[in-house]
């Protein structure tokens, strides 16, 4: 069944079609939510909210983009808002934790034995725009066209942000270059 047929059936009130639409897309939404939030509960909440919106707005889907891309654009908006709320609530606290992390992070960036942990930290510290595009493209395998449509940006902007994200990560992880060659 094509996506258009499936949408038609959902709009006609077919509960089996609703479930099928959900099953086809839920993994992709959850994976993106988890990768961008790093929190299982928040990822579950974001996925739930995304599908509530998807079903609520399905009649506005015009088929100009793929259904998966349309759903991703809704998911991104939900995730973005969730992250903003989390960030805002964290900013209101006196954040001793940040001080602790900074103290730990400074020496670790020079002599970190665990490449994956270092890489994860560096990805976390990318500006939001860079991180989103990097995670979507290099980690989750979205194309620049999908990213552009989902985020409402130009494909060129997506490419530029990815390039800058990689450049920042390369610089930050230069110490591991030798290790990468030999592995």
């Amino acid at each position: 069944m094509t996506a258009t047929d499936l949408v038609g059936r959902v709009l006609a009130g077919d509960p089996a079609a609703e479930r099928e639409l959900y099953d086809r897309h839920v993994d992709r939404v959850y994976r993106l939510s988890f990768r961008l939030t790093g929190d299982g509960e928040l990822a579950t909440d974001c996925t739930q909210e995304t599908f509530i919106r998807v079903f609520g707005r399905l009649e506005t889907f015009r088929g100009e983009a793929a259904l998966s891309t349309w759903i991703t654009s809704i998911a991104y908006s939900v995730i973005y808002n969730a992250l903003r709320k989390v960030k805002r609530s964290r900013e209101t606290e006196v954040d001793l934790e940040v001080v602790d992390q900074t103290a730990i992070r400074a020496p670790a960036s020079r002599a970190e034995p665990d490449l994956k942990a270092s890489l994860a930290r560096e990805i976390d510290s990318l500006p939001d725009g860079y991180r989103t595009v990097f995670v979507m493209h290099d980690v989750e395998g979205y194309t620049h066209e999908e990213i552009a449509t989902s985020l409402g940006i130009q494909a060129g902007t997506s490419k530029a942000q990815l390039s800058r994200a990689r450049a920042k990560l390369r610089r930050a992880l230069a110490a591991f270059a030798g290790e990468w060659v030999t592995r």
Binding site: L119, D138, T157
Partner: protein
């Protein structure tokens, strides 16, 4: 090691970044169903939540604009039902009026966004700048959700503005230089200001 090889290696290693566990499909499905049963209107109404801030001229103007938008959306949603009602089918004026109201609301909205971007670019941001940005972001989405707004260039402009406003809304204070550079790049690359001015017949809103 060349940049390409490093990038390839980076991609390989990055796949382990926040590796997601198995999707809790049934749990999420149950929650989605429960939420939809509990509040069918919530599916559409969430984007109408505006941030609460102290009253300002921006805010008062925003409330008026939101009322116009809601009126336009309501007329837009109501009109097809009228057309389906026997005896009321021949009322194209209602649809035209809905489009006119929405068009007016959209132009008014663009004027406010243009004024906000002027404040952003000149650094003359007030205490409620972020709240205003978020309110404009919500209204941009509200306009985009309207089926009656059919002009493709207007829709494209609103879509581009939505992303831009998202970026501006997440800037804390004056924002890190890198984030501001991205916003400026977005503004320039997509020719946002010239497109805004073209879409506003009589210049930006006061």
């Amino acid at each position: 090691m060349t940049d390409d090889r490093l990038d390839e290696r980076l991609k390989q290693e990055a796949r382990a970044y926040r590796d997601p566990p198995e999707t809790p499909r049934e749990e999420i499905w149950a929650r989605v169903q429960a939420a939809r049963r509990a509040s069918p209107r919530a599916e559409r109404g969430r984007q109408l939540e505006f941030p609460t801030t102290r009253s300002t001229s921006w805010r008062r103007g925003g409330v008026a604009l939101a009322a116009i938008l809601l009126l336009g959306v309501a007329i837009g949603r109501w009109t097809p039902r009228l057309a389906e009602t026997p005896g009321l089918a021949e009322r194209p004026v209602s649809a035209a009026r809905a489009e006119t109201v929405l068009r007016f609301a959209a132009v008014e909205h663009l004027g406010r966004v243009d004024a906000l971007l002027t404040d952003y670019e000149t650094g003359r941001t007030t205490a409620d700048f972020q709240a205003t940005t978020r309110a404009l972001l919500s209204r941009t989405r509200l306009l985009l959700d309207s089926k009656r707004l059919t002009d493709p260039s207007m829709r494209k402009l609103l879509e581009d503005l939505e992303v831009l406003l998202m970026q501006v809304a997440q800037l804390p204070g004056t924002g890190p230089a890198e984030e501001r550079a991205l916003i400026d790049e977005n503004l320039a690359e997509q020719a946002i200001r010239p497109r805004l001015r073209n879409a506003i017949p009589s210049g930006p809103a006061a």
